[in-house]
C-alpha cells in the first residue's frame, strides 16, 4: 500500500505546523515539517511528496498585509536550482498533486495567485483582508460545503463546525466578473452558515464580512484548497467547545474531531488514485 506523504512548511512565523502534522499522522499519512529555507537551499524536494501544506500562523507578523512577505519570497526569490518556489509549485500541481493552505496558508495561496487562479496566470484575483470587526477573533463557526465543489478534501462533508482565528479573513474579489466565475465554477467550496446550515452573512456567523460569505476556495481542479477556518484545530472531540455536553447526549460519540475528516479524505483519495493507477509515481 502506498505511503501518502505530506510536507508541512514552517518558519518565519508560521505556527500551526505541529497540529497539521498530527492531523496527517492521525489520518494515516507520513508528515514532515520542513523549514521553508530548506527548500530554497535545495535540501528538500517537494516533488517527493503528495500533499504540500501551508499551515496557519502570523508569517512576518502580517506586516505589509497577511501572507504578503512570504508570498513575495515564494514568488520572486530563486531556489538553488534557479527556479522560483512558485514555479516548483506549478509543476507540483501539474502532476496532479494536492495543496492545502489554512488561514495564513490560504492567504499565501491567494497572494501568490494560486487561488482561485481562474485566468491561470498566477495573478492575484482575490484578497483576504481585515475583518469588518477590525479585530482578530477566535471563535467557532458553522460552515456549509458546496456540494458541487470538486475538491476531494471536502468529500462527504455537508456542514462542519470549526474555529476561525484571524484578523484578516475577509475575502474580496477583484471584480464582479471574477466573482461570477468563482460561483459558476463552484470554487467557493466553503461558506459561513448558521447552525442549521443556511448560508449567513450575519456577524458573527460570518465572522469577517467575506464576499459570498466565502470561507474557502479551490482552484478549478479542486486540487488546491485554501480555507480560513482551522480543521487541524479539531482533531479530537476534546477540542470542541461543548464536548462535555456532546458526550452527555451521546455516550458512544466518536473521540475523533470532525476536522480530521478533511485529512482522512485526502489521504484516502490519494491511496485510491494510486490503486487506480492515476497518480504519477513520485
Amino acid at each position: 500500500m502506498k505511503v501518502v506523504k505530506a510536507i508541512i512548511i514552517t518558519g518565519f512565523g508560521i505556527n500551526c505546523e505541529e497540529e497539521m502534522a498530527a492531523a496527517y499522522k492521525l489520518a494515516g499519512a507520513e508528515a514532515n515539517i520542513v523549514h521553508l529555507n530548506e527548500i530554497f537551499a535545495g535540501n528538500v524536494n517537494i516533488h517527493e511528496y503528495d500533499i504540500l501544506n501551508f499551515p496557519g500562523g502570523f508569517s512576518y507578523g502580517d506586516d505589509l498585509g497577511s501572507g504578503k512577505v512570504l508570498a513575495n519570497k515564494m514568488k520572486y526569490r530563486k531556489l538553488r536550482n534557479g527556479r522560483t518556489f512558485l514555479s516548483e509549485i506549478n509543476s507540483f500541481v501539474n502532476s496532479n498533486k494536492f495543496i492545502l493552505g489554512i488561514c495564513n496558508g490560504f492567504q499565501f495561496l491567494v497572494k501568490m495567485g494560486l487561488l482561485p487562479n481562474i485566468y491561470e496566470k498566477n495573478q492575484q484575483e482575490v484578497t483576504l483582508t481585515r475583518n469588518n470587526s477590525a479585530k482578530f477573533e477566535d471563535r467557532w463557526v458553522y460552515l456549509k460545503a458546496n456540494p458541487k465543489s470538486k475538491t476531494p478534501f471536502l468529500k462527504g462533508i455537508d456542514t462542519i463546525f470549526l474555529p476561525v482565528r484571524h484578523g484578516e479573513g475577509k475575502l474580496i474579489t477583484k471584480n464582479g466578473k471574477l466573482r461570477t466565475a468563482i460561483k459558476q465554477k463552484n470554487l467557493n467550496c466553503l461558506s459561513y452558515c448558521d447552525e442549521q446550515g443556511n448560508i449567513s452573512s450575519q456577524y458573527p456567523e460570518n465572522p469577517n464580512g467575506s464576499e459570498m460569505d466565502c470561507a474557502g476556495l479551490t482552484d478549478k481542479t479542486g486540487n488546491i484548497l485554501g480555507m480560513m477556518p482551522h480543521p487541524e484545530a479539531f482533531l479530537s472531540l476534546y477540542n470542541h467547545p461543548d464536548w462535555h455536553r456532546l458526550k452527555r447526549m451521546n455516550s458512544n460519540i466518536s473521540e475523533e474531531g470532525d476536522g480530521l475528516e478533511l485529512f482522512k479524505n485526502i489521504v484516502q483519495h490519494i491511496k485510491k488514485e494510486e490503486l487506480n493507477g492515476s497518480t504519477k509515481v513520485s
Binding site: 512565523g13 492575484q124 477540542n239 455536553r245
Partner: protein, 996 residues
C-alpha cells in the same frame, strides 16, 4: 536620497481601520471626524533607482485587489481637510520596515544590508472634517499614538511628509573614569546623577571595594585605573538593582504585631517563607521517594517532571512600570520577555505551550482628572490587551488563562502579570535539559536581535530626555517575529545538542545574562566590539547594559560553534561570538582590547549590603454595615452580573488566540454558545496521549483591605479549588505518576520602606507583606503545593508632584497541576435540564470585602477565611466524585458568591434554574446568596446519581434545586421568592458590563 511609497485603499474598499478610529473619536473623545481614510508610508533610504522603486511598490507592497500606490508623492484629496501623521521616533522598533526590507531583496534580487534599518514606516490618517488643532492633538495623542515613542504631525495636509527617524549619535569618549572617593553626600549625588538607584550604604560598599588594597593590587596588575569606570558602576548598579537582587525580599525585617503582641526578626521573607516552604515539601517528597520537583528558584523558571521523557517549565513575571508609560509596548515586551524565561531555562529551547495573563486596571469609566503622565485606565486596558494579543497570537502561543481586576487604586500603575509554560525533553543529546553546565573555555554567543539604546536604565529615563534625533530608550516595543525566529532556532539547536545552555537577555541586558552565567564557572571575558549594533556610536557601557529585546545569550563549546553558526544562517538568526567563560573569578569586559570593566565576581554578586526594614501591624477598626431590612435581590443580582469584576471578558478572550497548537481542552469560555466562563484551563501535552495539565490563578486584592493574611491564603485556595473544580487532584506524596503541582508567586506591593515624610505608613504596608508571606508558607506546606519560581515588584506607586496613587498589596498565585487524563475533566456549565444542583462546601457569614459590599459602598469586617483542614477534606471528596463520574458540572464560588456562580453555571442555551435556599437562623439569605466564603462549588448531578452523590458528600453538600428548561433564574427562600429573572436579561447585562 529618500524615496517614498504610499499605499492606500482603492475607492470603494471599506477602510475598517479608519472607521474604527472615527467611531472611537466620536465615542471616547466626542469629536466628529466625518469620513476618514488611512495610508501607510514607506520611507526608503536605500539607494534605489526609479525602476526599482516602482517594481518594489507594485510587486512587493501593493495588494492588487484593494490597493493603490503613490510613489514620491502622497495621496491627496480635497475631500479630506485635516490629517494626522503617526511616525516613530528614531530607534523605535519598526517591524514592518524590516519586513519590507526582506521583501525588497526578494523582489529586486539585490544584496542589501537588511540587518540595520533603511525602510521607515509611518501611518497617515486623512480626516474629512476641518478640525481645530486641539482636537487633532487629542486624537493623535489619545487614540493613535504615544508621544513618548511617536512623532506626531497634524493639521492641514500640504501633500508632503519629510520626517525620517534615522538614528544619529555623535561619537564621544569611549570610557570615563569616575571618582568614587567621595563624601556620603557626594556619593548619593553620584548615584542620582548616573541614575544608579543605589542607596548610600550600597554606594559606600562600592567605595570600600575600590579602596580595598586587594582590589587595588589586582587593578594595578591589570594596568587599570584604581577608580571605577562608568561601565563598572553601571554593571554594579544593574546587578544590585531591586529587580535583579530582590533586596527587600532578602532584607532583615523587624515585625511587630500589636494585635497579637508578637515581635520577631525575619531574616529574608524569601528564605523564611517562600524558599523554606518549597524546601520542606521537597524533603517530604524525597523522603517518600518522589522526585518530580527538579529545579526551583535558581534559574529563569522552575522545572518539574512530567514523565521519563519530558519536563514542564513555567514562569510568571510582571511588567508594570513599562505598561504604565506605554501600555502596548509594556505588555508586548512583558509577554515576549516572559516567553524567554522558560525558553532560557537549563539548556533551553523548550517548546512554549501556553501563555497566561492577569491584569489589574483602574475602572474604564474612571472620571477623575488625570495627573501629569497618567494615562486613562481605559487606554491602558486597551493598550495592554493589544500587546498581549500580538505577543501571544503572533508567536503562536495560546493565551489560555487569566483574570482582569478593576480597582481605582490601579489607575496610576496597572499590574500586568504574564505567564508562560513550556515543555522540554528530559534530555538533549544525553544531557539533562534543565541543568546549566558551563566550563572555562566555553564561548559566549549572543543570538537574536541587535543592540540599541533600548531600555537603558529601564523606566527611570524621563520623557524629557527624548528629543528629535535621540533614539528612544524609555519605552520598548517587542518584535514578535524576531523572537519567533529566535525561538524556533533555539529549539532546533538544543535538540541537535549544539548549545550547552542559554539564558534570556532581559533586564540588565548582557551585563545581567553574562554576569549571572559567569557565576557558574567563575568568570568571563566579553569583547563588546563584537556585539552587532542597530546603529553606530553606542558607548561600551551602553552596549553592555542595553535591554534591547529578543536576544538570548548562549553557552557554546568551541567545537560546536561552526555547526551552530550554519544553522543560525539557515534560519536567518544573527549570531555573534562575543567572549569566553573563564574561572579567574573576574568579569572582564573589553572593547577593542581596552578593559572597560574588571570586577570581582564575588563582590559583584555577594557584595550588596543587606537591607533592614521595619514592619508594624496596628489592627484596623472595622465593622459590619447595617443593611436595609428589605433588599431587592433581583436588582442586586443584575447589578452584580454587570459589575466590573464579574462581567464577561468575552471581547478580550476572543481577541486572544486560545487554541493555537490544538491542545486546549477546557478553554476560557465553553458551552453551546461559547459564553460559559470556566474555572481553570486544561491542555493536553501532546497528540498521542491524554496526559495534560490544568492552569489556574488566584488573586483577590480587595480582601487585603481587611486582612492581608486571609487575602493571601484565600487567593491560594482560589487557585487550588479552580483546579479541583475542573477535575484536578491534590498532590499525594506517595503518588508514583509525577502528579506535580507547580506555583509561581507574584507579589506586587506599594513602596513599603518606611520614611516618616515620604512613606509614613510604610511599616503597616510592610506588615501586610509579611502576613501575605506567612499565609503562603502555611498554605503551601499544608497542601504540599510548592512555589517553583516567582517574582516580586516592590514600588507600585504612581507619583505626580505631591499626589501618589498606590496599588493595594496584591499577590497572584499561578498554579499548574498535572492531569492524568484530560478526558475526565469537567466544565462549569449545567449540561441538561432535570439535573440536580448542589452547593458543595459551607457558607459562612463572610460578606467582608465582597463584591456585594462593594456594590453598596461598604467594606465590612468578616473577610472570608480559609479553613484548610475542612477544605482539604472536601477537595478529596470532590476528587472521588470526579473519579466516579458523578459531576456533570462544577463551578467554584468566588466573586459575587453563590448567586453569581449559579447564574454563570446556567449559561447553556435553553436552561434555567429553580433553587430553594434552606432557612438557617444563623445565616441570612443575603449571606447565603452573596457571601464569598472559600472552598465551595456549585455542582450538578444526574438524577440517577443522587443517592451515590449524597452518600459520598454527606453533610458537605446541600441540595439547592434543579436545572429547568424555562430559561429563568428562580431562587426562593422558605416562604418567598428571592430572585426571579430571565436568564437572557442577566446574560445581556453580564455581556455588556465592560462597554463603558
Amino acid at each position: 536620497m529618500k524615496n517614498q511609497i504610499e499605499i492606500v485603499l482603492k475607492d470603494g474598499i471599506r477602510d475598517v481601520e479608519a472607521e474604527k478610529v472615527a467611531s472611537e473619536a466620536k465615542n471616547f473623545l466626542k469629536i466628529d471626524t466625518g469620513e476618514m481614510k488611512t495610508g501607510k508610508i514607506y520611507n526608503i533610504t536605500y539607494d534605489l533607482n526609479k525602476k526599482e522603486v516602482i517594481e518594489f511598490a507594485e510587486k512587493g507592497l501593493k495588494d492588487e485587489v484593494i490597493n493603490e500606490v503613490y510613489i514620491n508623492e502622497l495621496y491627496k484629496n480635497s475631500k479630506f481637510k485635516s490629517f494626522i501623521l503617526v511616525a516613530k521616533f528614531p530607534g523605535v522598533t519598526d517591524d514592518e520596515g524590516f519586513s519590507a526590507q526582506k521583501t525588497l531583496i526578494d523582489i529586486l534580487g539585490k544584496k542589501l544590508d537588511t540587518s540595520t534599518q533603511h525602510i521607515y514606516t509611518d501611518k497617515i490618517y486623512y480626516i474629512e472634517n476641518k478640525l481645530p488643532k486641539e482636537d487633532l492633538k487629542l486624537i493623535a495623542e489619545k487614540l493613535l499614538g504615544n508621544k513618548l515613542i511617536h512623532h506626531l504631525e497634524y493639521g492641514k495636509f500640504t501633500g508632503s511628509i519629510d520626517y525620517v527617524p534615522e538614528v544619529k549619535i555623535d561619537s564621544s569618549e569611549r570610557v570615563k573614569i569616575i571618582d568614587i572617593n567621595l563624601s556620603d553626600e557626594e556619593l548619593q549625588q553620584l548615584s542620582k546623577s548616573m541614575l544608579l538607584s543605589l542607596n548610600l550604604e550600597e554606594m559606600r560598599a562600592i567605595k570600600y571595594y575600590y579602596l580595598d588594597q586587594k582590589t587595588q593590587k589586582k587593578r594595578q596588575q591589570a594596568t587599570l585605573s584604581l577608580q571605577p569606570t562608568d561601565c563598572e558602576l553601571e554593571v554594579i548598579a544593574q546587578t544590585w538593582s531591586e529587580h535583579c537582587k530582590h533586596k527587600e525580599f532578602a532584607a532583615t525585617i523587624k515585625y511587630v504585631n500589636h494585635e497579637t503582641g508578637e515581635i520577631e526578626e525575619i531574616d529574608s521573607l524569601f528564605k523564611t517563607y517562600i524558599k523554606r516552604s518549597t524546601e520542606i515539601i521537597q524533603k517530604r517528597l524525597q523522603k517518600a521517594g518522589n522526585n518530580w520537583l527538579l529545579k526551583v528558584f535558581n534559574d529563569n523558571a522552575g522545572v518539574v517532571k512530567i514523565d521519563d521523557n519530558s519536563v514542564f517549565v513555567w514562569k510568571v513575571e510582571t511588567h508594570n512600570s513599562p505598561s504604565t508609560i506605554d501600555p502596548y509596548g509594556g505588555a508586548i515586551t512583558g509577554i515576549l520577555g516572559n516567553n524567554r524565561d522558560p525558553l532560557g531555562t537549563g539548556i533551553g529551547g523548550g517548546k512554549l505551550l501556553f501563555n497566561t495573563n492577569v491584569l489589574c486596571f483602574g475602572p474604564p469609566d474612571y472620571d477623575k482628572p488625570l495627573l501629569a503622565g497618567q494615562l486613562h485606565p481605559k487606554r491602558i486596558f486597551e493598550g495592554v490587551r493589544h500587546g498581549i494579543e500580538d505577543g501571544g497570537n503572533k508567536s503562536g502561543i495560546p493565551t489560555v488563562n487569566g483574570s482582569i481586576i478593576f480597582d481605582e487604586r490601579y489607575s496610576g500603575k496597572p499590574l500586568v502579570y504574564c505567564g508562560t509554560g513550556g515543555v522540554m525533553p528530559t534530555k538533549y543529546a544525553g544531557v539533562n535539559s534543565w541543568e546549566k553546565n558551563i566550563s572555562a573555555g566555553d564561548l559566549i554567543v549572543m543570538a537574536g536581535g541587535r543592540v540599541g539604546k533600548d531600555g537603558i536604565h529601564g523606566a527611570t529615563f524621563s520623557s524629557a530626555e527624548i528629543d528629535e534625533n535621540s533614539p528612544q530608550s524609555a519605552v520598548q516595543i517587542g518584535s514578535p517575529i524576531t523572537q519567533k525566529l529566535l525561538s524556533d532556532f533555539l529549539q532546533e539547536a538544543a535538540r541537535k545538542g549544539l548549545i550547552k545552555c542559554s539564558t534570556d537577555n532581559g533586564a540588565g541586558g548582557l551585563s545581567s545574562s553574562v554576569g549571572e552565567l559567569a557565576t557558574i564557572c567563575g568568570g568571563a571575558v566579553v569583547n563588546l566590539e563584537k556585539v552587532p549594533l542597530k546603529y553606530p556610536n553606542l558607548k561600551p557601557w551602553e552596549i553592555f547594559i542595553s535591554e534591547s529585546q529578543e536576544r538570548m545569550t548562549l553557552v557554546v563549546q568551541q567545537k560546536k560553534l561552526a555547526e551552530l553558526k550554519k544553522l543560525a544562517a539557515a534560519r536567518e538568526v544573527e549570531l555573534s561570538n562575543i567572549g569566553i567563560f573563564t574561572n579567574h573569578g573576574f568579569l572582564n569586559v573589553k572593547y577593542e582590547n581596552e578593559t572597560i570593566a574588571f570586577l570581582n565576581m564575588h563582590f559583584l554578586h555577594e557584595g550588596v549590603p543587606k537591607k533592614y526594614m521595619e514592619a508594624e501591624w496596628e489592627p484596623l477598626n472595622l465593622c459590619e454595615p447595617k443593611l436595609e431590612p428589605k433588599l431587592n435581590y433581583n436588582l442586586i443580582l443584575e447589578k452584580l452580573m454587570g459589575s466590573l469584576n464579574i462581567c464577561s471578558r468575552e471581547n478580550v478572550i476572543r481577541q486572544y488566540d486560545h487554541e493555537v497548537k490544538g491542545k486546549t481542552v477546557v478553554k476560557p469560555l465553553m458551552g453551546d454558545d461559547g459564553k460559559a466562563p470556566q474555572d481553570a484551563a486544561v491542555m493536553r501535552l501532546n497528540f498521542d496521549s491524554n496526559q495534560g495539565i490544568a492552569i489556574s490563578n488566584g488573586i483577590i486584592p480587595r480582601y487585603g483591605d481587611i486582612d492581608a493574611y486571609h487575602m493571601s491564603a484565600g487567593a491560594f485556595d482560589e487557585a487550588i479549588r479552580q483546579i479541583i473544580s475542573v477535575g484536578g487532584k491534590l498532590p499525594d506524596l506517595n503518588d508514583r505518576n509525577n502528579r506535580f503541582w507547580t506555583v509561581n508567586d507574584n507579589f506586587c506591593v506599594p513602596d513599603s520602606y518606611y520614611d516618616p515624610q515620604k512613606n509614613p505608613d510604610g511599616k503597616q504596608k510592610l506588615a501586610k507583606l509579611v502576613q501575605m508571606n506567612k499565609a503562603l508558607f502555611d498554605m503551601a506546606t499544608f497542601y504540599n503545593i510548592p512555589m517553583t519560581s516567582g517574582k516580586d515588584s516592590m514600588k507600585n506607586d504612581f507619583k505626580a508632584g505631591d499626589v501618589k496613587i498606590s496599588i493595594p498589596p496584591t499577590i497572584l498565585y499561578s498554579m499548574v497541576a498535572k492531569i492524568e487524563d484530560v478526558r475526565t475533566t469537567t466544565t462549569s456549565n449545567f449540561k441538561q435540564q432535570g439535573d440536580l444542583i448542589y452547593q458543595v462546601g459551607k457558607t459562612y457569614n463572610e460578606l467582608g470585602g465582597s463584591e456585594f459590599y462593594k456594590l453598596i459602598g461598604e467594606l465590612g469586617k468578616n473577610v472570608p477565611k480559609v479553613r484548610m483542614v475542612e477544605a482539604k477534606r472536601l477537595y478529596e471528596i470532590m476528587m472521588q466524585a470526579n473519579e466516579k463520574n458523578l459531576l456533570e458540572s462544577a463551578h467554584d464560588i468566588s466573586d459575587g458568591g453563590l448567586a453569581v456562580a449559579l447564574v454563570e453555571s446556567a449559561f447553556t442555551n435553553g436552561v434555567g434554574i429553580a433553587i430553594s435556599l434552606p432557612d438557617y437562623s444563623e445565616l441570612s439569605y443575603t449571606a447565603q446568596l452573596f457571601s464569598e466564603s472559600h472552598s465551595r462549588f456549585v455542582v450538578s448531578v444526574k438524577p440517577e446519581n443522587r443517592e451515590k452523590f449524597e452518600q459520598l458528600f454527606q453533610t458537605n453538600c446541600h441540595y439547592l434545586g434543579k436545572v429547568t428548561s424555562n430559561e429563568q433564574v428562580k431562587i426562593t427562600g422558605k416562604k418567598k421568592i428571592l430572585i426571579d429573572l430571565p436568564i437572557c436579561k442577566l446574560k445581556k447585562t453580564w455581556d455588556e458590563g465592560l462597554n463603558r
